[in-house]
């Protein structure tokens, strides 16, 4: 469909039109959950050190090209630099040379970018001047153009060989991960080299595999305590009884979970859109209204493990 900004050229067929829309990841996308943890980890780190205002540590996120990092820019606005394919880690090391002591540089790559420029990541590991936190969004595939035969990477062997301590995380365990990143920022300042491998971050693949394996993924449940649900009822009542007041009312009350996790299912309160990732299980809802019914990827991102449970 053409829009005002993007009118349909007359000499083109309708199906040739490029749609203008912001980048939006799937509701169960693990990349977005890692971004939430990265940002939340820094908030907790500053809070733990009781730092406020200008004294706070600041996160600089030097990324690589790819969907894993584009969401960080579009959805969370935490990405500071994206240049060439594969240069995230080494651009990050350049930034470390010229940034202030109160700035912590985190670098992130997809596994495609990891393969593209493993030597840059190696440099980050060997550079004794600074610490390094290198996040790898591992979706077991090189996906940008889709359909390639995956080049398997054994991070448990390659990471230590490069000089990193490898930590695997389940991207959907958002609270655990935020605590982990909080700890990693401290270790970064001690010049330690850590590679965080976020496993199984393509929920589309995982969802398909789960379905083919006969696993029916669960979905989120919101209890009556949910501030938004209560407010929706109130809005419905006002619309029914005092429609003139409706204009002055906000459209929602809380939405922390949906906005925080960038989850369309939670935002629309529609379990039908839920991939069953289970990130909301660990999300710190202010009234504890979130729960989950059925198996979720937050238990494991491995289909075999899920089968056992």
């Amino acid at each position: 469909m053409a829009s005002k900004q993007n009118p349909a050229p007359k000499d083109k067929a309708a199906d040739e039109i490029t749609y203008l829309r912001p980048v939006s990841n799937c509701s169960g996308c693990g990349d977005t959950k890692v971004s939430w943890s990265v940002r939340e980890g820094m908030r907790r780190f500053n809070r733990q050190l009781k730092l406020k205002g200008k004294d706070r540590y600041e996160l600089i996120y030097a990324a690589d090209r790819g969907c894993g990092n584009l969401q960080g820019y579009h959805a969370y606005g935490i990405v500071d630099a994206i240049f060439c394919m594969g240069t995230g880690a080494i651009v990050g090391d350049g930034i470390k040379e010229s940034c202030s002591d109160k700035q912590i540089v985190l670098t992130a790559s997809g596994d495609g970018a990891y393969n593209f420029n493993i030597s840059g990541i190696k440099f980050a590991a060997k550079n004794k001047k600074f610490g390094a936190i290198n996040v790898i969004y591992n979706n077991y595939n090189i996906r940008m153009t889709g359909g390639q035969i995956p080049l398997e990477v054994d991070f448990d062997k390659e990471g230590p060989a490069l000089g990193f301590e490898v930590i695997h995380i389940n991207p959907y365990r958002v609270d655990d991960n935020a605590e982990l990143f909080k700890e990693l920022y401290r270790r970064y300042l001690n010049k330690e080299k850590i590679m965080v491998v976020a496993d199984g971050v393509c929920v589309l693949d995982m969802g398909k595999n789960a379905k083919n394996s006969g696993i029916r993924m669960g979905h989120f449940i919101r209890s009556d305590e949910c501030l938004d649900l209560k407010f929706a009822k109130e809005r419905a009542r006002v619309a029914r009884e005092e429609p003139e007041k409706l204009k002055g009312m906000p459209k929602f009350k809380c939405r922390l979970c949906g906005i925080g996790l960038r989850c369309h299912a939670l935002l629309d309160n529609d379990p039908g859109k839920c991939f069953g990732c289970g990130a909301c299980i660990q999300f710190p809802c202010p009234v504890g209204a979130l729960s989950f019914d059925g198996p979720s990827f937050s238990t494991s991102t491995s289909i075999n493990e899920l089968k056992k449970t």
């Binding site: 606005g77 990405v79 240049f83 240069t87 080494i90 651009v91 010229s98 202030s100 190696k122």
Partner: protein
Amino acid sequence: MENNSSFDLGRMRLSGNQAVARGALEAGVRVTTGYPGAPISDLQGSFEQLAGNIPKRNPFTIRVGEMLDQTGYQLAAHWGTTTNEDNAAALALGAVICKGDFKKREFLTEEEWDLVYGDTVFAKDKGKRIPVGSRVMCSFKHLGANTAADALRVSVNVVPYTGGLGIASGDDRQGTSSQTMQDNKVLFGFHFRIPTLELHSPSTAHTTVKNCYRLFEELGVPFAVIMNYDLSYREVSVDPVVELDMEVNHRRKGFTRDPKHLVTIGPHIRPRERKFHSKLIHLFKQKIIENFELLGNRVTEYGAEPKAMIVVNGPFREDFRLVDDDPALRDRLLNKYEDVVVIESNLVFPQPGALYEDLVSKHPIEKIYVFEEGYGRVIYLQLLDLVNRRGLKVKVLDRSIPYEPRIYERFSYIDHILNG
């Protein structure tokens, strides 16, 4: 601490590589990256010695090293550790985008500042100061630019954050230690479209490099300096008085967030690319004309009514200096070309078109002879383009040599100029 520290190093022999290193240090460069390869290894090698990564081995690094120690000069050097040229360029890119400090405007007017910095996060700065950070030098041999092309091309998309980045390329147009005799002026000038200069002498290279940092940092664009094989290794006796810019070297560190510039996705780079080609390159040309002599260029008129113009660049320029010292050569020049305007230029790209137009309108010039080294003919093609676009009634004649003769095959370039 003093802002400028001056040291007389006494008589010593300096190669082209060391002269560029000297220029970078005088400019206050804090981060240096590179990947070794003949003929330019020695440039980053000097930085490695000065940064204490390897022992100091020659009089230049020993004496300059003492000087740096005395002044507390900050220098980080990353050589082979960066594993290839692309990583060296990417590391340089990361180091240069951090703008944690400001300096006063030196070359730009307020309107020009608005053009360069008006859409950055610094746009609201009332004093319209220049955001600055570490000055960075990245060096590799000519083939390295192929490897580093990815990072170098993207550096154009993040202008003006790449101001303060100098790239030194050692061209092996002799094919002495390389598989190709590549002319990198094509890459830096025509492909990356960043200001490109070909140096010509170890005794003046440092001044050009230092002034390039001054000018192009303010314009927010990286620049490239190219040396041929001969210049990189050739040593000359000089009496260097090194003046370190400690104020630049000790600038405040810090990264300022500006994802609209530094996250290079389509919607961000499209307007920047447009602006770079349609507006900024014109600004660069104008500033180059305004600072033509600052960048080590010279216009000399021989005779009152010159009908010819000679453009000498790089090694041709080095040999052309003999004309000033030798009356016989001067006579041969005038016999050959009669009255003539000579542009002794380091500039490869962009060529200051308005300057040529001005000279052509002032004098009855009929022919422009271009003497440059390398198959790229970058200057010749730009002048040809200028003459065609402006409809100037001048013939542009290519007198370039497409490769660099090997040392034992070297013929006199001044003879090449004077014999036509």
